[in-house]
Symmetry: C2
Subunit: 244 residues, 2 copies
């Protein structure tokens, strides 16, 4: 899989890829009451960036997004949604990419395909934090979770892409049942509420939240969870539905 990058650098015309088209994925996770995104750093540069990639000539763009997602998290069958395509001409800034390549000892001609203007299709993914295993590759030093509230400086317009992704899931949360994708298979009502509160960035009323969630009829009560606290044990729930 890591040949992918060598292939991208070496063949200066980008044969085998759709020209000028990139995919960036905002991979959301949730842990300890914090919404997180997966970021990587490019080797020896300290640049933080969203996991992304390019589309093969014989590949649907959605397939490409899944491939990239799998590559970073090791996960298949993930909730993945295209949310916006970014194509301002101001995105075209070759400096960071040149540095990234230089740090690998590669000094491309100015007409190298990777230095041309790219339009990027944004996808967001919702993954179970406990199942996803971030994996760096030959081109990146690290690939790790960052709190959404405490992001490092990001390459290009990646900050903006994340903001737009967040905005999208905030809107989607109300009318699609997507929240569950961020939790482990079993969860308490309190955990689910905490997730909603974090995404929407506001407090919700406990009684009303529970009533509403149960009214959807997609939660199956599994067992009790004895947390060790001196109080009633919460139930564990699991998401059930034809659609996931």
């Amino acid at each position: 899989m890591d040949q992918e990058f060598k292939k991208q650098e070496t063949n200066s015309t980008g044969t085998g890829y759709l020209p000028g088209l990139a995919i960036d994925t905002v991979i959301f996770g949730f842990h300890e009451s914090e919404l997180k995104v997966l970021l990587l750093t490019y080797k020896n540069t300290g640049f933080f960036a969203l996991p992304g990639g390019f589309v093969h000539e014989d590949e649907d763009i959605n397939q490409a997004a899944r491939r990239i997602l799998f590559h970073r998290t090791g996960l298949k069958d993930i909730y993945l949604e295209q949310f916006y395509t970014f194509g301002d001409k101001s995105r075209h800034d070759t400096a960071p990419l040149k540095k990234i390549m230089a740090a690998r000892g590669f000094f491309p001609e100015d007409n190298h395909w990777l230095l041309s203007r790219f339009v990027s299709i944004g996808y967001y993914a919702l993954v179970d934090f406990t199942k996803a295993i971030p994996s760096p590759d030959s081109i990146s030093d690290s690939c790790d979770w960052f709190n959404l509230t405490d992001l490092p400086g990001l390459m290009q317009d990646h900050q903006h892409i994340i903001a737009k992704a967040l905005q999208t899931i905030q809107l989607d949360l109300d009318h699609k049942l997507i929240g569950f994708n961020l939790l482990p298979e079993h969860f308490t009502m309190g955990e689910l509420q905490g997730l909603y509160e974090t995404i929407l960035n506001k407090k919700l009323l406990r009684a009303a939240f529970q009533r509403k969630m149960l009214s959807f009829g997609v939660l199956e009560r599994i067992a009790k969870k004895w947390t060790g606290g001196a109080h009633k044990a919460p139930y564990l729930y699991k998401f059930i539905s034809g659609s996931k």
Copy 2:
């Protein structure tokens, strides 16, 4: 403006355009209780298609969408929204395009840029039917409104693009105030309700609809409209708001 097409055909490598990237616009209008979309036919082929175009090298994709929209309708300051990017590899079908070009007496090599695989960014526009003047150009025979309920056979996946656009405005209609863009400056409550009913494809309750619309506080009552009917005259309203 019509040189645009000659430029696209003649220069076989597509210099000046972003390669492999197209824009398709679903331009919605509303007239006589029918939702309409603007379609064009390519000269001497009878192919129906969405108005579309390509992105200039020095242009934001949103600018490109506005340029295409202006070119077709003569309108600026139109409500325009990107809704999805279509990039299945199955879209790549050179046959129709070859016929279109052949009908113009142009027979491109197989490696002509227009025959390569394209990813298309979909935009939808909401326009005042009474203001938009559909205009064909050198490459198209006609450019006309078609009822959404009675579309002709369309090129490639344009049917699917329209379906996705419709789905998007149905969802947007609830939480954005976008409906007004499809009506003339002044309209009655009945006309507004008819518009909503057509888009959502269901009957709404008159009293509740009126109460809700007025509660938004974005409607200014202008005057009465004497229709000639033997009944109370409805008020004319106008949309007022900082955001349009």
